[in-house]
Amino acid sequence: MSAFFAIIRRDLLLVFRRKSEVLTILFFFIIVTSLFPLGIGADSGLLRKIAPGIIWVAALLATILGLSRLFISDYADGTLEQMTLSPTPLVLLVGGKITAHWIVCGLPLVLLAPVIGIQFDLNSETLGTLILALLLGTPILSLIGAIGAALTLGVRGGGVLLSLLVLPLYIPVLIFGAGAVFASSVGLDVSGHFSLLAALLVLSLAFAPWATAASIRIAIE
């Protein structure tokens, strides 16, 4: 288990030494969500209606951007190969990398979301739902995305291919995540959406690290 935390620490340290990569992703999230009101118009009723979908789609795209750098530098300099050879189970190390990725790319989206939500004129109760839904949903995005990132390691046109592979798998998260926020904004019960998001999280926690580890082994061969 100490290896798990060591990997998280190492990846976070690497990111803090070169902050620009991660900040670019966050700015991407902010810019994309700010473009929609400019394109659609400042009618606050309309904005309130489309806010859940836009924020979630922007979160999906921002996660995809961050995924391409999840394994690539470790793959290039051979660190990943050493990890597959180490006595610690690869699944654990992969889990650490995914956790670090979520702390770097997922958690800031959760923290930024209320600011974006205010731009879209969401009320405080809906903002709370948005934060909770993103908190449950973004780890799923990192977990599923890691499989795609490992499958496309060192592949021609990997970045574009990654989005083609991963985005269809994100659809359930998008539906229930945006659904929860929308339900809350019209005063409906949101517990069903949260239960389903939590179920997806448990399911992806159980399977995604193994699939990712298997994909890495295939890429290393």
Binding site: L151, L165, P168, I175, F207, A211, A219, E221
Partner: protein, 244 residues
């Protein structure tokens, strides 16, 4: 007879060559019978008139697209577990046919939807999940095509197919709960079908025809893949068909 001997490309290649004409004949016979029933025997629908006849292509194509994904994932899993070359080739050969079926299903569905619903496309559960199935097929094909090392392409594709298979029901139900407007399933295992017997026969014959077609075309494609991958081996160099 030792069935496992056919898991070698060298023995499967001639077997597939013998089977292909058989499946083409079956596909043609079933297709002619199915089309004859669906156009001349089956009565016009009480509500939907003549326009409903597109379901004789639409429903078999939808069934086949889902079925082919399952078969593809099964071959991929066998290839991954037992490390057999031929299974991965079968998965690769099935993917384009599956994508074609998914596309055909969406296309004919649009033609059916325009007169019945008044719209080419609605965001309904089954349409949306069929579209996502098409994306999954395309993702599988794109991933395999972009990896040069065939063994790695096979294994990476296999993992993607398996992840997809786990996700297909989740996607289907999430889209279903999200929005549903599609008419209820016309054919079901649990209750008597709500359609004339001749219509059902037409649909079943067409489904069998599509099935036989898919097998025939997948076998033809797998033969090409075998030749491509085994081109360095002696048995391919000694093939009579390639000598001339």
């Amino acid at each position: 007879m030792n069935w496992f001997s056919f898991s070698s490309p060298a023995t499967f290649y001639p077997l597939a060559g013998k089977l292909i004409p058989l499946f083409w004949v079956l596909a043609t016979l079933l297709g002619v019978a199915g089309l004859w029933i669906s156009f001349f025997v089956a009565p016009a629908d009480a509500v939907q008139g003549q326009g409903y006849r597109i379901i004789f292509v639409h429903v078999p194509a939808s069934w086949m697209s889902m079925f082919i994904y399952m078969v593809m994932a099964a071959w991929a899993a066998i290839g991954l577990i037992f490390n057999t070359r031929l299974s991965a080739m079968m998965a690769q050969a099935l993917a384009p046919t599956g994508a074609l079926m998914a596309f055909l299903s969406l296309w004919t569905g649009a033609f059916w939807g325009k007169p019945m619903w008044g719209a080419w496309w609605v965001w309904d559960a089954r349409l949306t999940s069929e579209l996502i199935l098409l994306f999954l097929f395309l993702g599988f094909i794109a991933l395999q095509a972009s990896i040069d090392d065939v063994r790695r392409a096979d294994k990476a594709g296999a993992i993607l197919a398996l992840v997809g298979v786990v996700n297909v029901p989740i996607i289907y139900f999430s889209v279903k709960w999200w929005n549903t407007l599609h008419q209820g399933s016309s054919v079901s295992m649990t209750k008597a079908p709500a359609m004339a017997h001749t219509m059902l026969w037409g649909m079943l014959l067409m489904a069998l025809c599509f099935w036989m077609y898919s097998i025939a075309i997948a076998l033809m494609r797998v033969r090409v893949i075998i030749l491509e991958r085994e081109s360095h081996s002696d048995w391919v160099k000694n093939l009579k068909a390639l000598q001339s």
